[in-house]
């Protein structure tokens, strides 16, 4: 089985993330870039299948600037067999539609039985790219799964719905997205880090993929930074703090 794991390099959520106020785009200088944690969980799911069946091939794919190759190196050091890097200046600031069209084209070239991705990235939080990719490829999407059983005859999974969970399934090939309920990813070991350097990374440009420019696109028209919150009163409890808080809540009509 061939599994392609979609990986996105995102600003570290442990730091103060910044937008460029003129363009509305991410300020990549402001924070460290890391592999989005949800993608690591997706990769872990793929690697567990590989642990159980050595015939499983795991490919990590990303679209991003030159520096995004770091995310692929991390995936390779964790255990992916190879990687695909879609890199092209014309893709700077690509919206979800352009991103999905490009990923779909690259997935056609790469080939797969299963595509594994995160349910949403921590930066954009849109959660629409996997569905767009599925529509481009005319494939089923099993999205926002809390668990999955992936086998040659198809994927069975449990999906997190609004008021409970759903038992769902699809035949292969299929697109699958995982939630935080999937197991945490393994750490790269020393051998993994050494062998990662010898694993192949294929580079694809937008021209090679020949993705037609869509007629529709999203445009940011304004970006405003909110003033930071200021700290208010802070009491050390001496036995009376609860009463003072109750007074504060009443005075501000919060109870």
């Amino acid at each position: 089985m061939k599994i392609v794991v979609l990986v996105k390099q995102v600003p570290d959520t442990a730091e103060e993330r910044k937008l460029n106020l003129a363009t509305g785009q991410l300020d990549r200088e402001a924070t460290d870039s890391v592999v989005d944690e949800i993608n690591e969980r997706a990769l872990e799911a793929a690697l567990r299948l590989k642990d159980a069946d050595k015939g499983t091939e795991v490919v990590a794919m990303t679209m991003g600037p030159a520096d995004a190759v770091q995310a692929l190196r991390k995936a390779l050091s964790m255990g992916a067999d190879s990687a695909v890097h879609i890199v092209d200046d014309s893709l700077n600031g690509a919206d979800t539609g352009r991103t999905a069209a490009t990923l779909a084209a690259a997935l056609r070239v790469t080939g797969f039985d299963v595509v594994l991705a995160g349910n949403e990235s921590t930066d954009g939080r849109g959660g629409v790219v996997p569905a767009m990719v599925a529509e481009h490829l005319k494939l089923p999407l099993l999205g926002s799964l809390v668990s999955a059983d992936i086998a040659d005859d198809g994927v069975h999974g449990v999906r997190q719905g609004e008021g409970g969970t759903l038992t769902v399934r699809a035949a292969l090939p299929a697109i699958v997205t995982v939630t935080e309920r999937f197991p945490e990813a393994r750490f790269p070991n020393f051998k993994g880090i050494l062998t990662a350097k010898r694993k192949p990374v294929t580079t694809l440009s937008a021209a090679e993929l020949d993705v037609p420019a869509g007629v529709s696109r999203t445009v940011v028209v304004a970006t405003v930074e909110r003033p930071p919150r200021a700290a208010g009163r802070k009491l050390i409890d001496d036995g009376t703090a609860a009463d003072e808080l109750a007074e504060f809540l009443v005075a501000n009509r919060l109870v």
Partner: protein, 323 residues
Amino acid sequence: MSNVLALIEVSHRGEMAASARGLLAAAATLGSPVAVVVSAAPLADDDVAWLGELGAVRVYAALTAAAGTVLVAPAVDALGAAIDAYSPVAVLTANSVDGREAAGRLAVRVGGSVLADVVQVRSDNGTVVARHSVFGGAYTVDSVVEGGLPILTIRQGAIEGQAPSATAAVDEAFLDTPSEGAAVIDGFNDDAVVSARPELRTAATVVSGGRGLGSPENFALVEQLADTLGAAVGASRAAVDAGYVAQTAQVGQTGVSVSPQLYVALGISGAIQHRAGMQTAKTIVAINKDEDAPIFEVADFGIVGDIFTVVPKLIEAVKARSN
């Protein structure tokens, strides 16, 4: 007036989703709201009347045997057919698991673009402008769609108010069963506990607990204060990961984003990922024994103390004042 489609989700038990109010309210600010509903059985008169009360001028009732057995595809087909029927200026879905998948597929199918996780909408000389709250509310970003149909996923609980009520006219349509590329639903497992507490995403007051609670049993303290304040219950990821409370209560970067009038954080250190889900609250109260906990940097009222001492006293003090 221009039509605006709103996808109204229906549970497998036939209940209309609470997100309908916000969707129809947002639709009404952009044009004439058309509720798009997919179901296996014809809609009850009560459901149509309810949608009208929430502002639907028309209801596009798409009937298909695939509703409840095929995942999301029937909703995409219904929206596609409704676009042909009403030539809308925008399509709105909830930013829910189903809603955003429907929006993503629809954008590819009809040549539109998705404006995701929208917290406010307006029409600027006929252009649909969507507002987003980015990086946990640190930025407010406005965006538009050029050259195609705007498809908006609306953050649940973000749109306030209600559209003027209408008497909804019903247009019934029959959809074919989706043939290719669809996933199948084999069953539903509803959450067992239907709480009498307010819904987390729309509650005016939220009381959240963190790792400081120490155990699932102790988490009852959070629930007691929540019930005293008429609040919803939330939690930090640490508390969820430790198994104190269900994942659906998670507030933060990768959970629910809330903007209540009052947010009370109990035993929550206030990691940046948690603050990303609650720092747009109007008033923040924090109680934590660690004087240096970062939650105090954003708290309007902070108490450095033991939650197991302070919270029971607070419950008594609030009860005494409200009597």
